[in-house]
Amino acid sequence: MDLSDSPEDAEFRARLRDWLGKVLPTLPPKPSPDDWPGRRAYDLGWQRTLYDAGYADVHWQASPSVRLIFLEETEKAGAPYVGAGFVGLLHAGPTVAAEGTAEQRARWLPPILRGDEVWCQGFSEPDAGSDLAALRTRAWRDGDDYVVSGSKIWTSHAEVADWCELLVRTDPGAPKHRGITWLAMPMGAPGITVRPLRTLAGSAEFAEVFLDEVRVPVANRVGEENDGWRVTMVTLSFERGTAFVGEVVACRRVLGELAREARTNGRWDDPALRRRLGRLNAEFRALWRLTQWNVSEAEATGGLPGVGGSVFKLRYSQARQELYDAAADVLGDVSLDLDHPWVTDRLSSLSYTIAAGTSQIQRNIVAERILGLPKGR
């Protein structure tokens, strides 16, 4: 068991730190959360900066430990988050890289890496959330096109996306996990309506997407027709892998700020609150170690992160909510003021036990795939 960097990893960490120290002071100010075009430009600008410095493909090419160091150091330095590039860099890009043709890789991958194009994820539907394979958006062949009708929901970045990784049903007669196909849909195509959805946090973080006989070229299909479920599982294994690494680092920083705020405003004198913060310190230390364990395991087995990601996500999504509940107790009455960032973060944290597979679904995955308990209902 070793927690220290290998010589190559240490060299990468030092070089990255040095570069971040130089480049971060030159960045423009962050746009406001409601300014979608501004956020797109900002996030893509950061991706371009990474591209020019040779860090753009760190999520795809590098070893798991280098990816971990990249996420750790960028977060510690306060670098911009992947933001609008999230789906392209962490879902669609790796999926196209693994399953696409040479032509598809050449068309879609360079613009993702350069920060020229934004992708969104057209997976969930009003009646297909945790039961994703129940999706009903239809696609049928008409010459060289698929014609797509239906609707998608919870689609992040849909307003500013160039492409959508879209799951459609191409064979309604087949069992529900078969008969699904993975398409890359250009968001400018006629027949697409995007309606922003306001979340309980008050902001429009995602959208509904309505599809009315949208034509998508057959050439935009990744994988075989009706083989989209298998392609999707490739996508999801990326989603649950290292997606939360930067956030754990950020939570540890917030926890330190909470303690200092509590000492400033006098709440620190409450032993119950103090001990609760101490316990959260233990929790986030353990989550960081669990991340390192999972990354080391992925490196040792030379592949994708395994179901260990479900173990991590269960614990992390809960801990994040407890962190911001503690923040509310530190803030007292201020916890009712939406102008405080911890208050909006508290609201946002409510999505964590739902998004990317609810905690209940994750528990079923852990019980059936790790512990070997029988499938049931």
């Binding site: 068991m1 070793d2 927690l3 220290s4 960097d5 290998s6 990893d9 430990s65 971990l68 510690k76 540890r252 920083r253 926890l255 330190g256 909470l258 303690a259 200092r260 000492r263 032993p271 103090r274 001990r275 609760r276 913060l277 101490g278 316990r279 310190n281 233990a282 929790e283 230390r285 353990a286 989550l287 170690r289 669990l290 390192q292 364990w293 990354v295 080391s296 395991e297 490196e299 040792a300 260990g308 173990v311 269960l314 614990r315 209940q360 994750q362 528990r363 079923n364 852990v366 019980a367 059936e368 790790i370 512990l371 070997g372 308990l373 029988p374 499938k375 049931g376 209902r377």
Partner: protein, 300 residues
Amino acid sequence: MRFQLTEDQRALRDGVRGLLARRFDRTALRAAVDRPGRLDRALWRELGTAGFFALRLPEADGGVGLGLPEAVLAFEEAGRALLPGPLIATHLAAGRVPGAADGETVVAAVDGGGVVEWLAQADVVLGGAEDLEGAVRMRSVDPLTPLHRVPAGLGAPVAVDPVAVLLTAAEQLGTAARACELAVQHARAREQFGQPIGAFQAIKHLCADLLVRVEAARAAVYAAAVTADPADIAAARLLADEAAVRGARDCLQVHGGMGFTWEADIHLLLKRAWVRTRRAGADTESEEMLADDLLSGAGR
């Protein structure tokens, strides 16, 4: 960073597990419950011969010369098997008290909380007053851990050794893992309403939570063994205590009425876990220490 067990560490863990399976199986465990307060000196010597107590003693001093990670793996196995005796006190005494390293001497210790485990069976008792005749025997909640209380004023408070805290956490981790295994075994085998109860989501979720707590505790305990950092050790202790105590409770719940019987082993897991939570200062001290760490540790 290779935060995984090395081949040697796996071999060590498997070796200790094998030894305990041979020498302290379920039959031996239940026999020990039926003869409370008696320590198996032959087993103690075998542990000594296998290097359990001398694991971290330098080779030059006749020890095995391994480190904290290896000790943590060995104590995790002891916790899994519910091995009784003042294991940590004797391990810490190796090289300092004659006979401790090879298991000839049984060493007990007064811990920070003023409780002594296995006082009557010990050859040597460390810490506290010279004379522990004033110690009061308790009717121990754990049938496998006889306890004495040292009244206040009898002896000076004992400084808590972080290594003792870490090895306690390792034992808790082993017990938590055992609770998870027992719960899953039962959930697969026990049928109700015409199917294994593990097919029901309510049982599945109990089992999944058992595993999540074990894995979080494991990462924290192993990392603390590598860094030996006091805050890491305190964190490991909190997570391991939670994994063991909540794990044993949930395991009992999965077993239903059977779990509430003396014949089922689950109460032994829970009671031992309770005893260990009181060792070396209670959880509150670790929580306070980690709270202070938030103010001093700048963004670690």
